[in-house]
């Protein structure tokens, strides 16, 4: 039966090619769409984990110009500072459990083959947002002039990176997060202050009237039990001048809204293409079987049972759809996995590919869906062909 179905497909190469291409497109849509939607969800979850603080306080102008959000979400470079006295004021605010300052600096692209990267400095004694991630990749404390690089940077453990003429050693490389932090460099407060000093000596940065030694860029806050983030946030925004407190959940909710919009559109398109594809497959099988009614009648005359005719039709559909499905999955793997960086840039949202096990799961689901659509589209046609009146068809009275 398999051989008969295969021969039938081989005998009509154009029809077979159309069926294979159609099912390849269907499988590609389902597989590709699912991987993209899951990558967006994984990216959002990673962003939630990565921010780590309940509230982030930045200078007012950094928040209004969306500088901070762009740094977190897009990985754009920038720096802004506020007086470190704000840290003490915030520390004394009611409902604040712990605070940790961060220092931002953007490197220059002066050395060959390098580009501007965001350098984020943290205070190892108080930090509770970056250190847990660094601990996963690097068990020890960072020494002076040690840096930890984000996953999207083309630098590896042991490499030497030069920032403002200061040579730093790459101590670890972080896991991918799908956020702007993937292109950042993390280091301790001591090292970043050294870099700031060097940039000032070389006149590569202009801090105007700000004293970098007594400045911080961002203050991460963990809210104490019994207080809500909104209460603490409002308190800071009211009482600490020229700063803007941002709730992490609020920043994420903006991303989450855009993300659910994009995911929703992809899901609707996937469903629409799938339904349309099944209808086209059904039409293709109906037309193909109709024009072969005499061929099936002859098969009945030479002894093929009704069930066997039905099985042949379904087998043909399965071979065509599964071949197409395999091609569609290969296409999906060759397009979506290697080009995930460009997809991330086009979407402008946190995007983190699912792990290998999940991708294998989506491949299996896509193959099963491809087989099911083949059976669904050919099943009704197979049922009809198994009921043909051989005599009428061979007499040509149909």
């Amino acid at each position: 039966m398999k051989s008969l179905a295969a021969k039938n497909l081989k005998g009509k190469p154009l029809r077979t090619a159309v069926l294979v291409i159609l099912s390849a497109l269907l499988t590609f849509t389902v597989f590709g769409g699912t991987v993209i939607v899951e990558s967006l969800d994984t990216g959002l979850a990673s962003l939630e984990n990565r921010l780590g603080a309940d509230i982030m306080v930045v200078p007012y102008e950094a928040a209004t110009q969306k500088k901070f959000e762009d740094m977190v979400l897009q990985g754009s470079t920038g720096y802004f500072y506020m007086d470190s006295s704000k840290l003490e004021m915030i520390k004394n605010t009611e409902g604040v459990k712990r605070v940790s300052p961060q220092f931002f600096l953007a490197s220059t692209s002066s050395s060959c083959c390098s580009v501007a990267v965001q350098i984020i400095g943290f205070e190892p004694e108080t930090d509770f947002t970056v250190t847990p991630w660094i601990k996963k990749s690097y068990g020890k404390d960072l020494e002076k002039l040690d840096v930890v690089v984000g996953n999207d940077l083309n630098a590896f453990v042991g490499d030497e990176l030069s920032f403002y003429g200061v040579k730093c050693k790459v101590a670890a490389k972080l896991d991918k997060t799908g956020t702007g932090f993937d292109t950042a460099v993390f280091t301790t407060e001591e090292t970043i202050k050294e870099l700031i000093r060097s940039s000032l000596e070389k006149k590569m940065n202009d801090f105007k009237d700000i004293d970098p030694e007594n400045s911080v860029s961002c203050i991460m806050i963990d809210v104490a039990d019994g207080y809500t983030a909104e209460e603490v946030l409002n308190d800071i925004n009211l009482h600490v001048k020229r700063v803007k407190a941002i709730q992490s959940a609020e920043m994420i909710s903006g991303v989450s809204d855009s993300l659910s919009g994009v995911s929703g559109i992809i899901r609707i398109l996937m469903t629409a293409i799938w339904v349309l594809g099944i209808v086209i497959l059904l039409l293709a099988f109906t037309l193909s079987v109709n024009e072969r009614r005499k061929e099936f009648a002859v098969l009945r005359v030479i002894g093929a049972t009704r069930a066997r005719l039905g099985r042949t039709v379904i087998c043909e559909a399965l071979i065509a759809c599964l071949s197409g499905g395999a091609a569609g999955i290969c296409l999906g793997i060759l397009i979506i996995l290697p080009f995930n960086d460009i997809i991330e840039q086009m979407l402008g949202l946190p995007f983190l590919l699912p792990d290998a096990v999940s991708i294998i799961k989506y491949v299996i689901i896509a193959v099963i869906l491809s087989a099911l659509s083949a059976v669904a589209a050919s099943g009704t046609v197979a049922a009809r062909i198994s009921r043909i009146d051989t005599g009428v068809i061979l007499r040509g009275d149909n």
Partner: protein, 137 residues
């Protein structure tokens, strides 16, 4: 040994030539590396990776064109050379020659994956070609 070509052979030869042309012309156009020089006026590292891919692509084009023109068994040898060359080409961006610093840059997000995918396709089609040719014998 002169012999007539089968349709499947001609199709795979044409596909190989097209893929080689897409790789060679593409690395200078739509899948080119980052264009700008650094502040010091030096080309960025990815430029040289692009040049190397262009060179390897030219050799792949020549091989594929010869496969289309010739009719003897030497075409199998050319297909084998294509496989080796395609595998080496796939390793040029960032393995043999370093690319730029950030993975969001054009050389990482466009050139590298495109070169890898096209090279894999060239190697895969060359394998298919060898199988078709072997079955013929």
């Amino acid at each position: 040994m002169k012999e007539n070509k089968k349709t499947a052979e001609i199709i795979t030869e044409v596909i190989l030539l097209l893929l080689s042309i897409v790789l060679t012309a593409g690395v200078k156009t739509f899948i080119s590396p980052c264009e700008h020089k650094t502040d010091s006026g030096m080309w960025m590292a990815c430029h040289w990776a692009g040049q190397a891919v262009f060179g390897a692509g030219t050799a792949l084009c020549a091989n594929s064109l010869l496969m289309l023109i010739l009719k003897g068994r030497e075409r199998t040898g050319l297909a084998l050379a294509n496989i080796t060359l395609a595998v080496v080409t796939a390793f040029i961006p960032n393995t043999l020659i370093n690319l730029c610093m950030k993975s969001e840059m054009r050389c990482h997000s466009v050139m590298k994956p495109a070169v890898i995918v096209i090279s894999i396709l060239i190697a895969a089609v060359s394998c298919v070609y060898i199988v078709i040719n072997k079955n013929k014998e």
